[in-house]
C-alpha cells in the first residue's frame, strides 16, 4: 500500500457502509414513525406523556438513573391458551373433552386444533395470546418493549444494565406516593435495597402552623427529627410523575397479547 489516499478511500467506504446501516437506516425507518393503532380498539398509542412526566424525564436523565435501570422488556415468544367460554348443549361431553386436552402453552396450530375439537363437541372457546419469557414471568411487563413505547421521549433512556430492576412498566407496579417514599428512602420500602437515596430531591423543613399536605408519611426510623417534615421538591414530583407514566399496557400489531378485559378475539368457532 503506497498512499494514504487509498486508506482514506477504503475507510470512507467501510465506515460509510456501517453509517448507512446503523445511522441512516434507522433514521429513515423510524424517524418518521407515528402513533400506532391499538389492537381491537379505536385508540392510538402512545399518547404524549403528561407535562410533569415529560419534565421528569429530564430529572431522570440529569441524575443518570439509566446507569442502573433499563426500560426495556424482553420476551422469548408467545404461546396460545385456549379458554372455554361456553359449554353449549352438552356440558358433560365438553367437560370430558377438555379434561383430556392440554389447554395452555400451545402453538397456534395446536390451539386451532383444540378449539376445533371443542367446537365439534358443541362448546365455545377463545384463544388468548400470551407472551412468555423471564421478564414477563417476573411481572415486569405484559409484552416486550417496542419502538412505539419511546416515540415521544427525548432523550430515549433505554439503559444497558440492570443493576436495579427494569422500569419499563414501573408505573403499573407502584403508585405515585410509593415512588416518592422510595426515592427519599429506598430502604424504607424495599428492605436492604442497594439503591442510593435521593434525599437531595426533597426538603426537610420545620412544620409550620399547618403541616404541609405534601409531606411524606415515612415509616418509623426513616422520618425526619420530631417537629420536621419531608416535602418533595418540584424535581421529585416530576420524576415520580415520569415513573408513574412508565406503562406499556396496550396490545399492538408488533407485540400482540390478549388483555383480560379486551373484547373476545381470536378463534370463535
Amino acid at each position: 500500500m503506497k498512499t494514504g489516499f487509498r486508506i482514506f478511500l477504503g475507510t470512507l467506504f467501510v465506515l460509510g457502509l456501517s453509517w448507512c446501516g446503523f445511522v441512516l437506516g434507522p433514521v429513515l425507518q423510524l424517524g418518521t414513525q407515528g402513533q400506532a393503532a391499538v389492537l381491537n380498539s379505536s385508540d392510538i398509542y402512545p399518547n404524549q406523556r403528561p407535562g410533569a412526566a415529560t419534565l421528569g424525564l429530564q430529572v431522570y436523565r440529569a441524575n443518570g438513573c439509566a446507569a442502573c435501570h433499563t426500560t426495556q422488556i424482553g420476551q422469548d415468544g408467545v404461546v396460545c391458551d385456549v379458554v372455554l367460554t361456553g359449554a353449549g348443549s352438552d356440558p358433560a361431553a365438553v367437560s370430558n373433552l377438555i379434561s383430556s386436552l392440554k389447554l395452555t402453552g400451545l402453538s397456534k396450530d395446536e390451539a386451532d386444533a383444540v378449539s376445533g375439537q371443542i367446537t365439534a363437541a358443541g362448546g365455545k372457546s377463545e384463544t388468548h395470546i400470551v407472551p412468555v419469557g423471564p421478564d414477563i414471568s417476573r411481572g415486569w411487563g405484559m409484552r416486550h418493549s417496542v419502538a412505539e413505547d419511546f416515540l415521544w421521549d427525548n432523550p430515549v433512556q433505554l439503559g444497558s444494565i440492570r443493576v436495579g430492576p427494569d422500569l419499563a412498566n414501573v408505573g403499573m407496579r407502584y403508585p405515585l406516593d410509593w415512588q416518592l417514599l422510595h426515592l427519599y428512602a429506598p430502604q424504607s420500602q424495599v428492605k436492604d435495597s442497594m439503591m442510593p437515596p435521593f434525599r437531595y430531591l426533597f426538603k426537610v423543613q420545620k412544620i409550620g402552623a399547618t403541616p404541609s399536605p405534601d409531606a411524606l408519611q415515612l415509616p418509623e426510623g426513616f422520618g425526619p427529627p420530631a417537629g420536621y417534615e419531608v416535602v418533595p421538591t418540584e424535581d421529585a414530583n416530576n420524576l415520580a410523575a415520569y415513573l408513574v407514566s412508565l406503562r406499556a399496557d396496550v396490545s399492538l400489531y408488533d407485540a400482540p397479547f390478549t388483555t383480560a378485559s379486551a373484547p373476545s378475539t381470536g378463534t370463535h368457532k
Binding site: 467501510v14 456501517s18 446503523f22 423510524l30 419502538a147 432523550p155
Partner: protein, 475 residues
C-alpha cells in the same frame, strides 16, 4: 552517537513539548477519573453515603468518571503517541508543533467543562456522549487541530511506503471525527425521533470503544513490537488482511439482542460479531509470529506492556465474539455486569497498558534523559494488569451469575442483586490498584516535566551569567 541516533534524537526532540503537554493532561485526568470511579463504587459499600449530595450520586459520578478516563486520558495520551509514531515513521521532525500544544489546552478545558457539566446534572443522557454541548464542540475542535499536525507530518514523510501502524492510525484519525460529529448531530443538535436515538447511541459506543480504541491500540502495538524486537511484523500481508476485515466487520457490532428496535438491526450485529473471528485470527497470527523466538527480556518495560496488552486484546475480543455472536449466550449476559467487564478490559487491560508502554518507550528519547522513576514502570505494569483483570474477572463472573439467575423467574429479584453486591465490593480493590498505577504514571510524567523545566531554567541562567561575564570582561 552515530548518524541514525542523531537523526532520531532531533525528531524526538521536536515532539518534546507537544508530548509533555498531552501526557500531562492525560495523566491528570486518569488520576481524577479513577478517583471518581472509586467514589462511584462506594455506593455499593454504603448506598446512602452521598444521599444529600447531588454531585456525588452514583448516576452522575459514574459517567463523569468514564468520560474523564476515556476523553481525558485515553484520547490525548493516544494522540501524543500517534504524533511521535508519525514523526518517527516519517523520519521527519514534527510539523506545526505549536498546534498540538494549543489543542491540548483546549482539550483539557473541554474535558473539564464536560466532567463538571455531568456532575451538575447537564449530562446529555447518551452513553459516552454525556458531555454538554460546549464541551463536545471544544473537544472536536481540539481533535481536528491535533490531527492537522499529525497529517502534516505524515505528508512530509521521507520514507514514502506506508507501514502497518500507518494504516491503523490513519484510519483512527479519520474515524473519530466522523462518528463523533454524526452522533452529536443526530442525538444532540437535531435529535432524531424515538429509538433511532438508541441505535445511533449503540453505533457510536461500539465504534468508539471497540473500533477506535482497537485501531489505535493495534497500530501502536504493531509499531512497538517490531521496533523493540528488531524484526519486521510477521507478516505484513496478514496484518493488511486483518486490518481491512477488522474495519469492515467491527463497526457493525454493538446492537444488543432483544432491543426494542426493528429486528434486522440486532441480527446484523450478531452476524458481524460472528464474522469478527476472521480479523481476530489474522491479528493473533501476526502477533504470535512476530514475538515467537524473539529473545528479549522485557523486565516490565515497554515490550512487556505491548505483549500483555495484545494478549488481553485477543482474549477480550474472543470472549466478546462468543458473548455477542451466540444468541443464547447474549440472552444470558446482556444487560448484566458482564458488559461493563468487557469495557474495563478494553480500556484498562488493553488500551491504557499499550499507550502507557508507548509513552515510556518514547519519553527517554523525547526528554533527552532517563525516566525519573524507572522502577515505577515495572510496578505500574503489574498494577494495571492485576487491577484490570481483577475488576473484569469479578464483574464478568458476577454478570454470568446474575444473567443465569435472571433467566429463572422463580428467583426473587432481590436475591439477584444481593448476589452481585459482594463482587462489586471486591472490584473496588481492583480500581484502587489501577489508581495506584496511574499515580505512578503521573509521577513520572510530572517529575520528567519539572526536571526538564529546571534544566531549562539553569541553562537560561547559565547563558545569562555567561553573557554578563563577557560584558564585564569587555568593559
Amino acid at each position: 552517537m552515530n548518524e541514525i541516533e542523531k537523526k532520531y534524537s532531533a525528531i524526538d526532540a521536536s515532539c518534546r513539548l507537544p508530548l509533555l503537554v498531552l501526557f500531562g493532561v492525560a495523566s491528570l485526568w486518569l488520576v481524577i477519573g479513577l478517583a471518581l470511579e472509586i467514589i462511584a463504587s462506594l455506593a455499593f459499600h454504603k448506598p446512602d453515603l452521598f444521599a444529600g449530595c447531588p454531585f456525588l450520586t452514583y448516576g452522575r459520578v459514574l459517567p463523569a468518571a468514564n468520560n474523564a478516563i476515556l476523553y481525558g486520558f485515553a484520547m490525548p495520551a493516544a494522540l501524543g503517541v500517534v504524533l511521535w509514531i508519525f514523526a518517527r515513521l516519517s523520519e521527519s521532525e514534527l510539523l506545526l508543533p505549536l498546534v498540538p500544544i494549543v489543542a491540548a489546552n483546549i482539550w483539557f478545558l473541554a474535558v473539564l467543562i464536560g466532567v463538571v457539566g455531568i456532575l451538575i446534572g447537564d449530562s446529555t443522557g447518551f452513553t459516552w456522549l454525556e458531555f454538554p454541548r460546549s464541551g463536545s464542540i471544544l473537544l472536536f475542535a481540539a481533535f481536528l487541530l491535533i490531527a492537522i499536525s499529525a497529517m502534516a507530518t505524515f505528508g512530509a514523510r521521507r520514507e514514502r511506503v506506508l507501514k502497518p501502524p500507518h494504516w491503523f492510525l490513519l484510519a483512527a484519525l479519520f474515524w473519530f471525527p466522523w462518528i463523533y460529529s454524526s452522533a452529536n448531530l443526530f442525538l444532540i443538535a437535531w435529535p432524531v425521533r424515538g429509538v433511532a436515538q438508541a441505535v445511533i447511541g449503540w453505533w457510536y459506543s461500539n465504534n468508539l470503544i471497540y473500533v477506535w480504541l482497537a485501531l489505535v491500540g493495534l497500530g501502536v502495538a504493531f509499531y512497538l513490537l517490531p521496533k523493540i524486537a528488531g524484526r519486521p511484523l510477521q507478516s505484513q500481508y496478514f496484518a493488511l488482511f486483518g486490518f481491512w476485515t477488522f474495519v469492515l466487520f467491527a463497526p457493525w457490532c454493538g446492537i444488543p439482542q432483544g432491543a426494542p428496535v426493528p429486528s434486522w438491526l440486532p441480527t446484523a450485529s450478531t452476524v458481524a460479531a460472528f464474522l469478527m473471528a476472521v480479523p481476530l485470527i489474522a491479528i493473533a497470527i501476526v502477533f504470535v509470529n512476530t514475538i515467537r523466538g524473539v529473545n528479549i527480556e522485557c523486565k516490565g518495560g515497554p515490550y512487556c506492556y505491548a505483549k500483555f496488552a495484545m494478549a488481553i486484546f485477543i482474549l477480550n475480543e474472543a470472549v466478546m465474539l462468543i458473548a455477542t455472536g451466540c444468541p443464547h449466550c447474549n440472552a444470558v449476559v446482556g444487560m448484566t455486569w458482564f458488559m461493563p467487564a468487557q469495557v474495563y478490559l478494553q480500556i484498562f487491560g488493553f488500551f491504557a497498558i499499550v499507550i502507557c508502554g508507548a509513552a515510556y518507550e518514547s519519553l527517554p528519547g523525547v526528554m533527552g534523559f532517563e525516566l525519573p522513576f524507572r522502577s515505577f514502570v515495572r510496578f505500574q505494569h503489574w498494577c494495571f494488569i492485576v487491577g484490570s483483570v481483577l475488576v473484569a474477572l469479578l464483574l464478568a463472573i458476577c454478570g454470568i451469575e446474575q444473567g443465569l439467575k435472571m433467566q429463572n423467574p422463580e428467583i426473587h429479584w432481590h436475591d439477584i442483586t444481593a448476589g452481585t453486591l459482594n463482587y462489586l465490593k471486591f472490584s473496588t480493590l481492583g480500581l484502587c490498584l489501577l489508581l495506584l498505577g496511574s499515580l505512578m504514571f503521573a509521577a513520572n510524567i510530572f517529575a520528567a516535566t519539572s526536571t526538564w523545566l529546571t534544566r531549562q531554567a539553569k541553562a537560561v541562567a547559565a547563558s545569562l551569567t555567561e553573557s554578563f561575564e563577557a560584558e564585564e570582561v569587555k568593559s
